[in-house]
Structures are given as C-alpha cells and as structure tokens.
C-alpha cells in the first residue's frame, strides 16, 4: 500500500516534468515524468518546432526576468499529445546559470475547456449563418411581393387590351395596317388609365382596411378644385355620367386636410353611380360649415340623379347617427361599407353625415370635411 508521500509523489509526477537546460540550449537534467529524454537530441530546440522558434528568447532570460509562460500548447511533439503549459525561468544552481523548464500536464482541464469552446463557437457561427439566411429571405420576400404586384398589373392591362382589340375590326388574326397606330395609341391610353385605376384601388383598399382606425388623420396640403377635377378627369370614358362641381368662394383653393379620405369617398360614391345603367348627373357642392372640433370645415353634398328618375330621392332619409341596412334596398354590402366609412369619418371629427338613397340608384350623401388654412 502506498504511503501518502508516495501517492503525492506519483500525482505530482504525472502532472509535470522538470528539465534543466544550459545557456547553450543543451539538456542538463530531467525528471522524465511525462516523457523519456534519454533518446532525444542534445539541443532541446530540435525536440519541437515551438522550442526552435523561441530558443533564442529562452536562452537570453536573466535571473531577474519574469517567468516566460506559454499556456495551452497543443501536442507540441510526438511524446506529448495532450495540452500543456510551459514555463521558463533562469535559476542559479551550483554557481551555474541554468534555464528551468517546467511542462505542466493540463490535458484533462483543457479537454473540458475544448468542449465548452467548441460548443460556444459552433453556436455563434450557427447564429451568424441564421442571421445571413434571414437577411437573404427578407430580401427575397420583398422581391417576390414586387413581382406579384407587377403580375397583377399586367393581368389587368392584358384583360383591358384584349377587350380593346376585341372591339376593333379584327378577323382571324390579321391586322388592318391602317389601324395599327390608332390601336397602339389606344392601348397606351388604356394602360395609363388602368394604372390610374389601380392606384385608386390601392388607396381605396388601404382606407377600407383602416376603417376601424380613422383616428389618425394624415393632413396634407392640397388644392380642392384641382383634386375634384383630377377625380372627374380620371372618370372620362364613362359616357353615362355628366359632372357638375360647385365650390363656394369662401373655401380657399389651397388648404390642409385629409385629402386621401376625401378623394376616396368621392371616387367610391361615383363608382356606385356607375352601376346605374341610366344616363345621370353627378353634382358635388361644397359649402362652408362651422364645426365644433376643427378650425375650418366645409360640407360636401354628393348627389347622383339618374335623368329618368330625377326626383325619386327622399324615399329613405336618414340623419346623422346611422343608417339601417334595410333602407339600402338594392345596393348590397359595398355601398353599406362605403357609407359606413363616411359615417365613421364624420363621427371622428364630431361632424355631419346624412344619407338618402332610392331604389333606382339616386343617391344624396352629405358629410362634413374639416380643414386648416395654409399659413
């Protein structure tokens, strides 16, 4: 049975090797606890590339130089395949200056550390890769959405174009050469028109999807007559409808207000008027009005009358707070939704809303619009 002293000696022996080197770099003595030096070259620099590369620095250490410590050296030579710390210091022994070289065997500790560092680094690298992939996916998603939008646009343009060419004198695939330029011009106009319609549609959808959240108005400077004329010009081509605009002189041409809502309300109402197959008139009348919650305001009266049934309004008159579904007899849910939007718009600024509708499509909608003067 080992004594404690012997046990301690064995443990220390396994954990380190002590060597002495002279000032010429030759081995003087070694306890050979980790490897056998008896068959090694006389000059230690040939034992391992590490020593070869720093032997000059080792041999020029002074007695009062701090210890030269090199940690975590991996497999420095054939006989040492683990992880070691090297320490070099100059000592004096028997009046001779020697280099004390201690090799600490920390293989077990550094192997544990290796596992930790490997896992940590792999995780970091993985997260970096994920970050790059996510960034690429995001960019691809945006590109995909753009392409989808383009496809929708092309789809509408294509449909309009086919409608256009099917209206021409076009038989069995042959073209009438004298019609080519007219066709091209019409086609281009149709595309422009379609793009304009698409833009309106997008704005309308944006507003309809935000019906519940009208509280955030986007106030912008715009020209009221300019806006109304633009709306009417975009409706060119609808031969059934005549347009009248009247803007009171007290309402400034340039003002600040939520022009997108105003534009979409009027366009939305006009689209309802198109549904009527009768000849009709759309008139829009703007009159100043005092509003509780806004600096300035005007009342918009939108009226559509079919020429056949001019006087058929006032069948179902509703004031202020709401309209009932069974009063909008033949119109269905789209008009309800639009009127609901106008009602919420008016409610949001404590304004005015009235609606009258008849079975044959006549419509009178009155709503207030707040604005600010341009400074």
């Amino acid at each position: 049975m080992q004594s404690l002293e012997e046990y301690k000696f064995d443990r220390i022996k396994q954990s380190a090797q002590f060597l002495l080197i002279d000032t010429e770099g030759k081995l003087v003595d070694s306890c050979d606890s980790l490897f056998d030096t008896s068959k090694k070259a006389e000059e230690v620099k040939y034992w391992m590339p590490l020593l070869e590369s720093i032997v000059d620095q080792i041999l020029t250490l002074e007695l009062d130089s701090p210890e030269l410590f090199l940690p975590k050296i991996q497999a420095p030579m054939q006989e040492l395949k683990g992880f070691y710390d090297f320490s070099f210091s100059k000592i004096e022994k028997n009046d001779q200056e020697l280099i004390l070289w201690i090799i600490y065997n920390n293989t077990k500790i550094y192997k544990d550390f290796f596992s930790y560092q490997q896992n940590r680094n792999e995780l970091v690298l993985k997260n970096q890769r994920i970050g790059v992939i996510q960034s690429v996916l995001q960019s691809k998603r945006q590109e995909l959405n753009k392409q989808i939008d383009r496809l929708h646009r092309f789809g509408t343009i294509k449909r309009n174009y086919y409608e256009l060419i099917s209206n021409d004198q076009f038989e069995s695939g042959t073209r009438h050469s004298d019609q080519t330029n007219d066709e091209t011009t019409s086609y281009i106009l149709e595309i422009e028109n379609t793009i304009g319609h698409l833009q309106d549609l997008v704005e309308e959808l944006v507003i309809l999807t935000n019906v519940k959240d009208i509280s955030s108005f986007e106030m912008k400077e715009f020209q009221i007559c300019g806006l109304l004329n633009q709306i009417f010009q975009n409706q060119v081509g609808n031969n059934n409808i005549d347009f009248n605009i009247n803007v009171h002189s007290d309402i400034p041409e340039q003002l600040i207000g939520n022009y997108i809502y105003l534009k979409q309300i009027i366009i939305g109402l006009m689209k309802e008027s198109w549904k009527s197959e009768n000849q009709g008139i759309v008139s829009i009348d703007l009159q100043p009005v005092k509003l509780e919650s806004a600096e300035q305001g005007f009342l918009v009266e939108y009226k559509y009358s079919s020429l056949e049934n001019e006087d058929s309004l006032a069948v179902n008159q509703i004031n202020g707070t709401g309209f009932q579904q069974n009063n909008l007899l033949n119109y269905g849910s789209e008009l309800e939704l639009k009127l609901s939007m106008i009602q919420k718009f008016a409610t949001a600024h404590n304004g005015i809303f009235n609606c009258e509708a008849s079975e044959d499509g006549n419509l009178l909608v009155t709503f207030s619009f707040p604005y600010e003067n341009v400074d």
Partner: protein, 161 residues
C-alpha cells in the same frame, strides 16, 4: 537555413487551422474543430535560391487580439491576419487588431488575408475587399488551395529581404 517564426491569427472560425493544415500537411477537412491555445509546426520553403524554415504558430481565434497571450508573439517575424470573406463580422475589429499587432511587433511583417474564397463569388470578394478599412494582401481558400502556397512564399520573401 534561415528559420522564421510566423503567426496565424484572427477571429475564430475564419480558417486559420485549415490554412495551417493545408500548408503543412496538404490536407483539408470541412469539419470545424476549435483550437485551444496554440499549435506549432514547421515547413521548409524555397525563397529564391535559399531554403527557409517557416515555424508556423496557429493561435486560437479571438474576437480581439489583445486577448491572445503576449508570450505567443515572442520572437515572431511575421503575422498573417486572417478573416472570413463570407462573414463580415470577422473584419469588425481588424483596424484595432492590426494597430495592436504593430505595437507588439514594430518590425514584423503583417499580411491581411481573406480566406474561404470558395464560398463567395467574385463580385462579393471585390465588394468585401473594397469595403475593408485596410488593404487585403491576398484572397485564399484552404479548401481549394487557392493562393495558400503563394501566401507563404509572399511572406517568406519579405522576411528574407
């Protein structure tokens, strides 16, 4: 024969050990194995008419070079600072690292190398190199061997001069 100590350093995962293994053993592995501390080996190259023993120190990657034990740099003649062309994060501290290394080895030869050129296309390489704050000396691939020998000959020639 001349012997020169050269250090491979840079952030972790940039391919220092792969460059080391490709140069010393002509071997490459896709598997990532972290380096603890330092591994040292050597290879003899021809520089002009002379032979030169390159004593190569492969140091464990650190995000910042001031974390590397200073004793590793003792007696070094050259430093190869490696970054990963496919990971821009590995160039984040490049300027500060090079300034630090120049202070440690004022007379040392330092080469900046972009590794893993096999993972990126030429356009990306040009973009990455153009956006670096410092000049990139060489673009390498430890996997394909592109410019690996050239790298050590380049540094060998400067060390011999």
């Amino acid at each position: 024969m001349i012997s020169k100590k050269v250090i491979l350093t840079g952030s972790f995962g940039v391919g220092k050990t792969s460059l080391f293994n490709k140069f010393v053993y002509s071997k490459f592995s896709d598997k990532y194995l972290t380096t603890i501390g330092v591994k040292v080996n050597k290879k003899v190259i021809k520089v002009g008419d002379e032979e030169m023993s390159i004593l190569l120190w492969d140091i464990a990657g650190e995000v910042s070079q001031d974390k590397v034990p200073v004793s590793y740099f003792l007696g070094a003649s050259g430093i190869i600072y490696v970054f990963d062309l496919s990971r821009s994060v590995t160039t984040k501290n490049m300027k500060e690292d090079i300034e630090y290394l120049k202070r440690l080895l004022p007379n040392g030869v330092i080469k900046i190398v972009g590794n893993k050129s096999d993972l990126v296309n030429q356009e990306t390489i040009e973009k990455v190199v153009a956006e670096l704050e410092l000049h990139c000396d060489l673009v390498t691939s430890a996997k394909t061997g592109e410019n690996v020998e050239e790298l050590f000959h380049l540094i060998g020639e400067e060390l011999a001069a």
